[in-house]
Assembly symmetry: D2
Homo-oligomer: 324 residues x 4
Amino acid sequence: MCTALTFNSSSHYFGRNLDVELSYNEEIVITPRNYPFHFRKMPSATTHFAMIGMATVVDDYPLYFDATNEKGLSMAGLNFPDNAHFFPLHDKKDNISPFEFIPYILANFATVDEARHALTTINLVDIPFNASLPLAPLHWIIADQQQAIVVESTKDGLHVFQNDIGILTNNPTFDFHRLNLSNYRQLSASNPTNSLSNKIDLPAYSRGMGAIGLPGDLSSASRFIRATFMKFNAVKPTTENLSVSQFFHLLQSVAMPMGACEISPHVYEYTLYSSCCNMDEGIYYYKLYNNSQIVAVHLFHELIDCSKIIRYPLQHQQQINHIN
Amino acid sequence: MCTALTFNSSSHYFGRNLDVELSYNEEIVITPRNYPFHFRKMPSATTHFAMIGMATVVDDYPLYFDATNEKGLSMAGLNFPDNAHFFPLHDKKDNISPFEFIPYILANFATVDEARHALTTINLVDIPFNASLPLAPLHWIIADQQQAIVVESTKDGLHVFQNDIGILTNNPTFDFHRLNLSNYRQLSASNPTNSLSNKIDLPAYSRGMGAIGLPGDLSSASRFIRATFMKFNAVKPTTENLSVSQFFHLLQSVAMPMGACEISPHVYEYTLYSSCCNMDEGIYYYKLYNNSQIVAVHLFHELIDCSKIIRYPLQHQQQINHIN
Amino acid sequence: MCTALTFNSSSHYFGRNLDVELSYNEEIVITPRNYPFHFRKMPSATTHFAMIGMATVVDDYPLYFDATNEKGLSMAGLNFPDNAHFFPLHDKKDNISPFEFIPYILANFATVDEARHALTTINLVDIPFNASLPLAPLHWIIADQQQAIVVESTKDGLHVFQNDIGILTNNPTFDFHRLNLSNYRQLSASNPTNSLSNKIDLPAYSRGMGAIGLPGDLSSASRFIRATFMKFNAVKPTTENLSVSQFFHLLQSVAMPMGACEISPHVYEYTLYSSCCNMDEGIYYYKLYNNSQIVAVHLFHELIDCSKIIRYPLQHQQQINHIN
Amino acid sequence: MCTALTFNSSSHYFGRNLDVELSYNEEIVITPRNYPFHFRKMPSATTHFAMIGMATVVDDYPLYFDATNEKGLSMAGLNFPDNAHFFPLHDKKDNISPFEFIPYILANFATVDEARHALTTINLVDIPFNASLPLAPLHWIIADQQQAIVVESTKDGLHVFQNDIGILTNNPTFDFHRLNLSNYRQLSASNPTNSLSNKIDLPAYSRGMGAIGLPGDLSSASRFIRATFMKFNAVKPTTENLSVSQFFHLLQSVAMPMGACEISPHVYEYTLYSSCCNMDEGIYYYKLYNNSQIVAVHLFHELIDCSKIIRYPLQHQQQINHIN
């Protein structure tokens, strides 16, 4: 399904894997400051923060999967089937449809604290984009350079969790994943001593045995744990290029090779794209399943005061450097 | 440590991760047909099969980590500490030093069957390259387009295992890994039915739950299992570019992010390079830890009848495609 | 810590392991119908259901660990540290102290439905038995012959969970355990087919491989899963003796050998007693760590209309049948 | 299948679980010193060490499952299907049939060292007891008060392994189990510190979390590991009764509840008996699946110089101590 991640190294980075079985014609989309965001039940935002991210554009509207605004505030929607529940119109609340949620937050707020405050009056209302685009069952991670939160709208209401791990996958609800981590607290990046018994000789025949017990499957619970282990043990490089490399390595540790996750006969979920956004510089990096070269799109290389969305199709062709 | 892999898709592929804590100045090296291979205890090979692979060159001699010859026969050495044992000179045997082993096999043989036959008279003799380059404790995988074998020289002699899995990692000996796989036979790429009890409701809350139990750590035993699961469930693409992509995804599933395997304080084993050689076409593809773009070197684009080794330094610089 | 269990076989059974590091002078205690139960903040119950169970008696008051009343309604308190939270007096609620909770429920109610109804007005109030007996942090399982519920009083209030598994251990909260079970849905009592790949031969070298992945440790999360697997795959015998045997085998699968759970140097949690109460017949069976012979005490063999509690000390001496 | 175990506490103990799907009419059998053991291809032993153990008696011949002789030397046969291989008659060897193996060793030798020496000339010959009793595919553990060995006769010959663990289960071969233990060296009886990351709060919510990763299933590989963990962390009591209790708790940790191991529809392997023999005193203790009271038979309470085997039927009836 998906894994989202924050990583603080030479800059602050936010990104995700999109794990799906088919493409939604997603592309890199920059929404400039003066693109008018019309919301179904809220006043339009005609001037707002610019943002860059991955989106499917329908009727000139960017349906963002994940994006970062010019202040660095970042947000991604991840699949949350069976648990996600959206509500009827509530006339005392700010009614935002799930498909408007990323634009609304990133257009209006600069920090997680501001977003958290706004969430106290938000009702995620069950209004689809149109008749042929039903609402996706999502939950969201919102992060800035300092912290992250998770937003889950379930049958019993809207929940906002502080996310000290800076990771989100899919089901179950975030509190399960956070608690479940305790079951892996004994894992280690270094080889542990023999604590089973000092009366028997149990040599460590390999490096890397300290993480025995780390799950390697592709379920959302296991990806949460694996991403946490990798992130919190990761070396933090000191240059932009090395940091971006490292970020993609973290995402690859929870990526889905095509074939390993079969959802119906001969239909496979796989990691269609991996993204890494430099929150400080507004640079959106991505890799695709069949193009491992990193592509970069810069928010601030565009005229972000204009009013038309700027679209960059994905570079799906593998770019091999043939040396001879 | 390392993982080697064969994969038959649109062509036949052979490759490996090199997991180490430091570089050995390795580079891509083509040894042409007329480069004279001088062996310490065997007659020189002055005309032989050409080969391409990753090697450290010392005194104009290619110390190959892995290579493929012009017939497609491929071979890689992987770390095998504590278990590897090399023997004194044996005057009834063909005495080959471990550092000569890849050149000797790839120079002389076209198939695994030929190599297996030669192995019946080989003694891996404990002669180091020179005083400052002691013998590395290795075992080897030898593969052609049809089959693979593993060669392990341990205290009780030289062992040749048929390798129907086409995968090799490190310790323990190959027969342990092969047997240990049975403990994971219940894993599945698709979500299984609830077999715990039909009397309780146990929904599959996520895709990918069929592989729960797949180990995610970096020990050699766990990498062997994970690589096997990924390889034998992998979709097989029908074009060269897609097959090469898929091969690297398989290797990434057992790759080491820097930080996840700490071998001494602040010293980390990581996947320095990943390689994928098209055995049919003699194309050696590789990626580096900090350069995710695939680089390709073609054996048959060179004059392979010459006598001097051809060297291509590794392209360590990340090649980002900045779109705007 | 502890595991409680229901099991429906030739009769209906309810029991538990008490896992502790020291004895509390517990004994079998029958509270007859006319023993006056004085509650701190509720009217006394002078005539009520009789009950049998394991209790520490202080000042002639039975502090029950687990008990069953004459209707079969059964209840056990299990350790719930850090999570259990009890509240100040609430003058609109029925204020019951945790130490009164088992007596109150079993004295007054015949079924889980009745108990569940009563719970809507109960406040678990933080009144200790006395100054030297602080409140234990507990949660409870309440079961009759048809169903079971779990009661947890945490910081955010009193929670009543329907417990379709009929098992309770310790932390975390019950909903975590129930959800976590889904991660083990692929386990099976019979050997599965090889679903990793039909292209490799992976023989089942042993019986019992269908449950590979079942956790064997003594944490509360793992005991919950193991007990569930064992219970829901257990053969159901048709006689009283065989059913009781089977019940104790289920409890042994989650029992703690002395030494396996060290809580401080040379201090060990172990399974001090295992109990099995026939809910239909009022027979309380138990075994002790050092006496594996089953001891039985019959509620209905006593004059249950009297007013004095009846106490049977535990039979700690191993009863070996020396044949010659 | 089965688990055998040595345990040194107040005395030296040897015992096992017999895990089967049906009874073989086994009983406790004492073979006195002058019972004439006729071997098929070896001279008869007319005077020899007396022994006590569990056996099926056919034609007045004790087919021992496990036994201990008057010197304390102990031996048990455990299922070893597919791997066990017995050989044709070898005229330079001492040809012993597998069904004679326990009698031959225990009749003639006082220590493991003596038995090991004898094994250098033994050929386990494929002669069945009779036409209706084919040879069972077994391997054996032989133990005295100081050490233990494992004997496995496979296609490539007779193997004797030093067994520093003092445990045997079933497939694969012993060297696999011994090596596999290293994968569990990080387990601990006490709660470990959080080594995943010191940057996140990961409380130990339960006792017993140090052994997370200990397998709980009933496969032979998992029982070997679990028995090792339990044995090497077990408290060693100082009295006979407590030691025997402890021994049975260790065996229970690898016992099979009926239902948990289904070998064909509605046919279950279960722990028919558990035994514990005091090697120093010649006391054979046992428990049965449906009789948890310990039964004891004393070798030295009989006239062990006689010539007729002494048989004690198993006490299958549950012995409940009804207190009131």
